[in-house]
Structures are given as C-alpha cells and as structure tokens.
Chain length 392, copies 2
C-alpha cells in the first residue's frame, strides 16, 4: 500500500478493465487522451513534457486487464479536483475502467492538521482506542433531546459523538442550534472530567455557505466537523482542511462512496476513495464500513482502507457492525490508533446508552488483560448484556 | 421527463435494482434508513414527519426491480450535497442501486442565471445554434498560441471557445494568464464584429481558492466559466451560480460522470447526472457525449439529457462526434436552442480552424434551406471538405 510515488514529480495510476478490453491500448489512450489530447503535428516538442506514459500492462488470469499509467504532476494544480479530471475525467465516459491504486507525491493535495494523534491529544486519551457514538434517531431530535443524550453518554465516558450524516441544516435543526444546545454540556464535561469530549457536527449547504458556516460553528464552540466529501466535493474538504478559521478535526463520512466504488468495473477501488483520497484530501478521521457488519465489504478491502489511513497518520473509524463485544476484531496487530464508532451499538444497548459506553470501556479492559469475551466468562454488567444481544 | 415534483414539498426518486433484489424491501429500507434511521420506541410521533415513504415497487420483465421513494424536502437543506446524502448516501454502500429518475421541487437548489437564452443574448445570436470550439492541444499552448488561435477562429465567426477541461491552473498556464492573453482579442472581436465572443476558462483548485479565482477572472475580463462539477463538487457549482461576483455563464463539463453513471447497477442515470442535477445545480450550459461519436451512449440517453436541459432552460452542448456535416443530426424537431461543441471538428479541418468554423455556418445555411449534405450536391468549400473527411 504505497501512497508516496517513487518519483515525487509524477502521479501513478493502476487502471483495471473487464475481460475483453485491451489494457495496453486503453493505457495508451489514457496516457495520451488525458494529457495532451492528441498528437499535434509540429507541436510535438512543445507538448512532450505534458504527455503521460504507459508504464506497463498485463492481463490477469481471470482475463481482467491492468495498466499502470504515469502522469506528470505539473499537468495538475496540486488539488484533487484537477487530479480527478486528469486520471479519470472524460475517459470515464469511454467505457469501463476502475482505478485500483493511486500514488501521489507525498505533499500532494491538503493534509489533515490533526490526524489520529491530534484527535487523541484533544480528547486527552492515550494508549487506547477512542469510542464514538452517534445521536439517534437521525432526524427529529430537539435541542433538549440532544443535550439529554449528550450528558448521559458523556458522563459514562464517551470520547466523541457525531450527528448522523443525514442531518444537515434543516428548518427544525440547524448545526448552529445543535452546537448551542450542546456547548454547555461539553463545557460541563470539560470541567468535571478534565477532558474534551468531541462533537462532530454535520456541515451542509453550497460550498461558500458551508465554509462560512464551518467558521461560525467553530466560533460558537464546535470542536469537530463531519463532512461527506463525496456528496459535497473533495475540493470542499481540501478548503476546510487548509483555512486557519476552520482548524478543527475533520471526520469524513463515506456517503456516496458506493456510487463511485461499488461497481466492479467503474470508478475507484474503495481503498483509493476512503484511503488515498482522504489522506491527500485533508481528512483527519475517516468512517468506513466494516466486514463485520451487514454491508458488502470484504475483509481485504477493509484492511486496505485501514492501513492506508494509518500509514497517512489519519484515524481509521470503522463503522457499521461495531458493538462492544466486537472490540477485539478491530485491534489486529494490537494497533490501538483507531476510533470505534457505534450507533446502535451504544444507543440501543439493553440497559441504555450509558451502559453502551461502559460496555466499550469494559471490553477494552478485558482485551488488555487478554480475558475471554465468551458470555459464560463475563461478569454481569454492560459488556455481558451487549454480548448477549450482539455477540462478539 | 418530469423535473418538477407533483407536490412541491417532496423529493421523489426512482431506484432500480438488479434481478434478485427485492425492490419493495429495498424501497422500504431506503424510506426508513435514509431518513429517521430506525424506528425509535416512544419517539414515533416526533419523527413521523421526517420519514420517507415507499410509493410503489415493481419487477420489470427483465427481472430488474424498481421502487419509487418519496422523501420530505424539509429533511434536506435546499442544496445538492444534502440531497445526495439523503437519496443515496450511506445506502450506496449497501449494495447495487441506481437512481433512474429524480424529481425535485422546482425551486430546489441553485438555478443558472443565464441558460441558453442568456448565453445567446450575450453572444448576440438569435434563431440559430451557437458554435463552440476548443483550444487544442489541451496542454502546452503558450499565451501567444492562444491569442493566435483565438483570432483565427474569432475572425471566422466562432461564437464561443473553451479550454480543455484537463487544463487547470498549471505552473506554465494559469487561467488568469490565459484570460490576459485572450482579452485583447476578445475586445477586438467585440469592436470589429459588434458581438461578444465567449471564452469559457477552466476553473480549478480547492473550493475556496476556486471561488476566489472565479471572481478575479471575471474582474480580469473572463466572460464564461468551465467547471467539472463531478470532480470539484456540485456544491461548488451551486456557489458559483449564486454569488453576485461570479455572475457569468457556467459551462458544466461531464468529466467523472462515467464513474457515477457508467455502471448499469450503481450510481445515477446519465439523464439525472447531466440533466436534473445540472438544472438544479446552477449550470447554464452542459456538455454531454453524443451517440454520433465513439463514446458508448445510447440515442435515448442523449435525448433524455437534451430534453431535460431544454425543459430547464439550459443550453444543451452536445460534444464528441460533432463536426460540420453532422449539424442536421443535432437539430431534431427543428430545435435550434443548442450549442454545438466541436474540438477536432473545427481545429482539425483539412483547410484549418477558420475553415472549420466557416463549414459550420455553411452547414447551418444549407440546413435552413433544406439542401442536401451529400458530397455530390455540395459546392467546393469548407463544408464539402469537412463532409469528405468526417461524413454527415
């Protein structure tokens, strides 16, 4: 999982094509068509330095073709928008092609200013995974409901909470009204527990309004953002990650990623969408579905995403299928630089949300001591109730 | 091709699923999962007004399933970002689903301030299609090259010209340097021909920089923008279309649309991407591939896109496969509210770019007089040379 290019001045892309498509020919079409467009007689010297190169091509045993194409990085503008136009752009209309790997110069794009370490430092947690919850139900909660839920899970020791991504600014609930309702509780937790609980609030609206709103939310006490970059634009996340007035951790949500990465033949590998493009797009933490849940994602893909994020210093945030008894599953290689995000896994705990939070802390303590998670071995309490409901 | 909803307060979406997927069940999952998330005991009344509804479901004769789902429009924020999160968002990760039709309240999103009529008025053209060219090669032209090409095609009567979308701000060619090189020629054409030739310049960069740059370009004399909204974000186009300082016609390029619409089972129908979302995203003119070219798009899809744009008052800009002899093909129903965009069809004319432009005007005159386009019937000149090279 390389995310740096061997040469700093090029962009390398691995394309995959369905059986029957000639990868050599398509690789050549990409190298030419996505750069100089066509060979113009008499201008060959003038445009030579812009032309892409087919590095290699291959037909795999299952008949699928692959081609590595190398593009000069001075063809693009240092941002992800012009990068996407170059590496897939109009070619996307020419037939099936899926980008499997993307290697960029290490300083390409926007880099998150926080990453896992910055978030953990803010939350004053070290040496263990962070635990994140989600306000539920997604829509229809009043400011009082939010404050009540926040106090309950905050007192129980939850590190972070987020809006559901489907809660934008609505007439009944603006992000600003949510921050105003929650700020006193966050301050109370800060005062009594000597830690900062983070609340990632959903950003929405057209690009200029979204960025203005992000500034105002920070002024009003927001301490983290939730953005769906595939719905709003990677360019918006890059802006958010770059401006001094929006210097808060950015939690990137994978909404719409399936439209760009679900098909076997079109778009992008999930590890490019939720890994490489996040690392170079300014995200600090990235939510992604896990193979432990009921979404169709393979363990290999999940691992690719996680490793790309870790390598880039970002916080992997496995989501969907996360509940207290499943904690060991998310700590392979004893890596604890991860944020476990549970919606129902906290809010629908049989003994209530506070017990859901406590069950995660209990699971962490048991995991550290290498104790069994089998129901028979568990003492009565939140973790046992969680395991009886959701398993391990 | 309805683009207004029957009821102004709802968003209606037609989803299609591959054979074997139960459209009724998935429609219900969408109606619930993409709105309130889950049914919360004791909060049913509070969240009822946010819940989506499965309107109908059906299994087609080929086994594919369809479901119409209706969402309250107060669940979203009046912008396309929150709309995409609601109608596809996290569900996109749950398995194959393709949005075939999208119906929005008529005032939803951002609406282009120019449309076809505004662009034609600016260009001082009425009663005929507009002719648009593309600077070629895409990369590597110097400011002097641009000025020379622009003068040649401008003097020959070209209405509009655009950058290639793969030419962002690069170290060797910023959009500002291009506008500075071309402005004197545009002013010369204005003075001598009493018309405004439009030059759609490529916008690039992270969202805030892109919007700033668009303002500066307008101050420097730019009179049209080229944006790839699927690479930069629809939210960026909405912002561009809404701000008083960026009040210029927006030409939307379909780069990346294939990643979102190429697959039969994932993402969006091309008529939603390049039609409905453009009408509600603030575009004034939309480039799309034609079935006359070598890109895999059906005549029906082309017609759907064109009709959606026309119905919304936008300028359809058929691209790829456009050359002088093909003009009649793009004027079905004698509709002339269209912009014909030719890259090689002008720049690679056997007698040079000026002849390419003249061939389009000649084709238009013949079409008006209902004269034959067969090579035998054509007088010697630019059109005949074009037809001999590219056919009709």
């Amino acid at each position: 999982m390389m995310i740096q290019s061997r040469q700093e001045s090029v962009v390398r892309v691995l394309y995959e094509f369905p059986p029957g498509v000639d990868p050599k020919r398509q690789g050549q079409n990409l190298a030419l068509g996505q750069t100089v467009g066509s060979l113009v007689p008499g201008m060959a010297a003038q445009i030579a330095s812009y032309q892409g190169t087919l590095e290699s091509s291959d037909v795999l045993s299952d008949g699928r073709g692959q081609a590595w194409v190398r593009y000069p990085s001075h063809n693009v503008s240092g941002d992800l928008g012009s990068l996407l136009v170059m590496i897939l752009g109009k070619y996307s209309l020419a037939g099936p092609a899926k980008i499997r790997r993307l290697e960029l110069p290490s300083d390409y794009g926007a880099r998150g200013r926080w990453g896992f370490d910055g978030i953990a430092r803010l939350a004053r947690v070290s040496g263990r995974p962070l635990f994140m919850g989600i306000f539920k139900p997604a829509l229809g909660l009043s400011p009082d409901d939010l404050a009540r839920i926040l106090r309950e899970v905050g007192e129980a020791g939850l590190d972070l909470i987020k809006d559901d991504e489907i809660l934008p600014d609505t007439p009944a609930s603006t992000a600003l009204s949510r921050i105003r309702a929650c700020r006193p509780i966050l301050e109370e937790i800060e005062r009594t527990q000597k830690r900062t609980m983070l609340y990632a609030v959903t950003l929405s609206g057209r690009a200029d309004k979204l960025l203005d709103s992000a500034r105002r939310l920070r002024e009003a006490g927001a301490n983290a953002y939730l953005l769906s970059p595939f719905a709003y634009g990677l360019s918006v996340m890059e802006a958010l990650a770059s401006h001094p007035d929006t210097n808060l951790p950015i939690f990137a949500h994978p909404a719409m990623a399936g439209a760009l990465g679900g098909s076997p033949d079109y778009g992008f590998d999930m590890s490019v969408l939720l890994g490489t493009l996040m690392v170079h797009g300014g995200a600090d933490a990235v939510l992604y579905p896990t193979s432990a849940g009921n979404l169709p994602i393979s363990a290999d893909t999940e691992s690719d995403i996680r490793n790309t994020l870790l390598h880039g210093g970002l916080a992997p945030v496995p989501s969907a299928g996360v509940h207290p008894g499943a904690l060991p599953r998310f700590l392979p290689d004893r890596n604890t630089r991860i944020i476990l995000n549970a919606g129902t896994g906290i809010m629908d705990h049989p003994q209530g949300p506070a017990a859901g939070v406590k069950a995660f802390h209990e699971a962490w303590a048991r995991w550290q001591n290498q104790e069994s998670f089998s129901p028979d071995a568990l003492p009565e309490g939140p973790l046992k109730a969680a395991v009886l409901k959701w398993g391990t």
